[in-house]
Symmetry: C2
Subunit: 431 residues, 2 copies
């Protein structure tokens, strides 16, 4: 029976999971594949660290260069989670004809174009199912299952940490800071949670999805990203009164002209929408294709086991590609799309929370500004205040551009009767 | 640029959709694939029938043998929806080295083993994404994305017609017969809706899923199938009072011993479970893998467009297989599983609706029978009756085997105080 030798670069949580499951489900994989996947070498930083799996010491090296220099290793798994180092390793593997399997979302988002130019030049695939949404096979589904479709939109909850935090805020009325501490204690947030809460982890994944769907690497400076750190328990409460839940959504759309937009930000979505029921560390992606229509994928978006499931699927693809090479190297560039809607032109609906003096005339002033900017008002309500002379004022606004809203926020914020910086959160009604 | 010639056998709804979308999205497919897919010949029964697409007459034949005899045709799409005729066509194609793409669930469920023996012998793949759940890429996900997983369970709403009927019964309190007529008028049920309402359409799909997941073709006489024709508006109402929705579920499980069960029947599921929110003609499958954990796939389970999306994805796979043949012919048999739990040994929980005399002592008699058969009672309630001297009595029962329940139903039905045949519906609590 044919054997394929694999090198693992990095043995953090996911690497340990891959090793563990390749071992435990070895018989199943052999039966299903008709060949064997052998881990030949593992590069890791600290051989003494306990990873929860028994690794034969003869497999271990502290130098990933050893994986590249070993001609018998045909597939490498890049799980180091670094930037420069991981890129050098990946390019080194590609140059030597070794297939790369990776979960490195940040690297792909920033260097995807370069990586796939190298892959195409050397005719070596790069697989990256593990980079987006853990165990959910979203990459394979967009790349292969929906190959006949123009992807009209993707709405995704693709960061488990922020979703867990928002879920806890809803369930227990916690403030953001308290919910973050809870998430860290439960192991769902890092000691440095920046990328998770500032939206950039989700943004990296959104860039990868959009690039795959539209055939060109979307530059990260063309996307809009806002995190969840400003969401308050009050916002969650007011949103609920309006019939909405707040989620950190990655939103990817292509318009009729072929311009695409990619954005990640907290979003009010209708409580009854299926995405509103996606809680805790689960991820979900609603994908709308022009032929297939509405679809939804749901599952565990992170964690040792789900992510290893995706790595193992990619290892099977990699081995099949070695047996019978194909001309799709994991990302197929094409010219049917290529431009991004300027961020200021992106259209959305909005929730606006103001803190205003409790006197007549305030609504007229605010409405006056919005009217002068052609921003329609869907509804206004004034909930119970708890801030003394200043009271909350909530507006839900019809469609307007990012640019129009920025101007509106500036002018409204400058009003004397407006006591704090206005809080604006986008609304998606999935019309 | 390389061209692959395709023959379509059958031009019903789905065939017309495939032709239409291959034409309309031609540029997109060419860019993504790097080759062209050309429909060379179409075999159909009635050339004069209006299919909503303009088909060049030179492509048309009334003889599918012409597709087999044309050496330039390398891929055939079997969409005739027949049994014997479709089988002869498929085997004829395989023997001639032509790759088969099909949506024929009934054929695969009955003849899958024979078809894949031929495929393996002739080294020709057979692809069948369109056979299960319309546009949802469930076949690809189980076969490829979850290749490292033991599939522990699949719970699926995989028949749109019955799901539409049940949805309408819930929304409008309709009886089954009324809801069926509505479905037929809306085009969601055939004039002869038998396979949809008796559960066998769902059963065919469940057999395919289980066979793919467990590596052997599950014999259709080993599965349990019950349709939705006996579901009443009362059952739906009582289920709701108990916190459940009623769905026609395909349930596939593998136990620790490796024995598998495949069953399709109406099922009470918790209202809060995500499957309970899958309405109308949508399908959904909850798949639990030992590594990936819980996942859910949701989308349109039938219809011209969603099903063509899956056919087109398979055409892309077929063309890639022609470029670079692989040793997986669409179904990988293996010996890790092979036995089915005898139907009488299948364990479930149950809802039991009796119509009984309105007098003391009845519950004691019924409970006595259940106790003597070791069937635990979870709850009992007696809703408002509307049947004169006879009143409804609802019991929810703990886990028991199919065999135990059959005995219980016989004995309970024989009691003098029990006025009608007991109605039993299985319950799935997803514990």
């Amino acid at each position: 029976m044919q054997h394929f030798a694999i090198g693992l670069a990095g043995m953090g949580n996911v690497g340990a999971g891959v090793f563990k499951h390749l071992t435990q489900n070895r018989a199943l994989l052999r039966e299903r594949l008709g060949f064997e996947l052998d881990v030949k070498k593992i590069a890791l930083r600290d051989p003494k660290k306990d990873r929860g799996v028994a690794v034969p010491p003869e497999l271990i090296t502290t130098q990933w260069q050893d994986l590249l220099d070993d001609p018998s290793i045909q597939i490498v798994v890049e799980l180091m989670g670094q930037k420069e180092e991981s890129l050098r390793f990946m390019l080194g593997a590609i140059e030597r004809g070794k297939i790369v399997v990776t979960g490195n979302k940040a690297l792909l988002a920033e260097h995807g174009r370069e990586i796939f130019e190298a892959a195409t030049k050397h005719k070596v695939p790069v697989f990256f199912e593990a980079a987006v949404a853990g165990g959910i096979p979203i990459i394979k589904s967009i790349r292969e299952a929906f190959i006949g479709n123009h992807i009209q939109s993707i709405h995704g909850i693709i960061n488990g940490t922020s979703n867990y935090i928002l879920t806890r805020m809803v369930e227990s009325g916690l403030g953001f800071a308290e919910a973050l501490v809870e998430a860290q204690e439960a192991g769902y947030a890092e000691a440095d949670p920046t990328l998770d809460v500032d939206g950039w982890d989700a943004a990296h994944k959104a860039v990868i999805l959009a690039s795959l769907a539209y055939g060109f690497w979307v530059p990260t400076d063309k996307i809009f990203v806002e995190g969840v750190e400003q969401i308050t328990a009050n916002d969650i409460c007011f949103a609920k009164k309006l019939g909405y839940s707040i989620k950190l959504l990655g939103i990817i759309k292509a318009d009729a002209k072929g311009e695409i937009e990619v954005r990640v930000h907290p979003t009010l979505i209708p409580e009854k929408h299926v995405l509103a029921s996606v809680n805790g560390v689960f991820n979900a992606l609603a994908v709308h294709g022009d032929i297939v229509g509405d679809t939804l994928f749901y599952g565990r978006g992170a964690g040792q086991d789900p992510t290893s499931s995706s790595v193992i699927a990619d290892l099977a693809e990699a081995a099949a590609a070695l047996q019978a090479p194909r001309s799709n190297y994991g990302f197929m560039p094409h010219g049917l799309y290529g431009t991004c809607t300027p961020i200021d032109d992106i259209v959305s609906e909005y929730y606006l929370r103001l803190t205003v003096e409790d006197r007549p005339g305030v609504i007229a002033q605010v409405a006056g500004i919005l009217g002068s900017l052609n921003i329609g008002i869907s509804s206004i309500f004034q909930p119970e205040g708890d801030e003394g002379a200043a009271v909350p004022l909530i507006l839900v606004l019809h469609k307007a551009t990012h640019g129009q809203m920025n101007t509106a926020l500036e002018k409204i914020g400058a009003l004397e009767c407006v006591k704090k910086t206005p809080r604006m959160i986008r609304v998606e009604n999935f019309a």
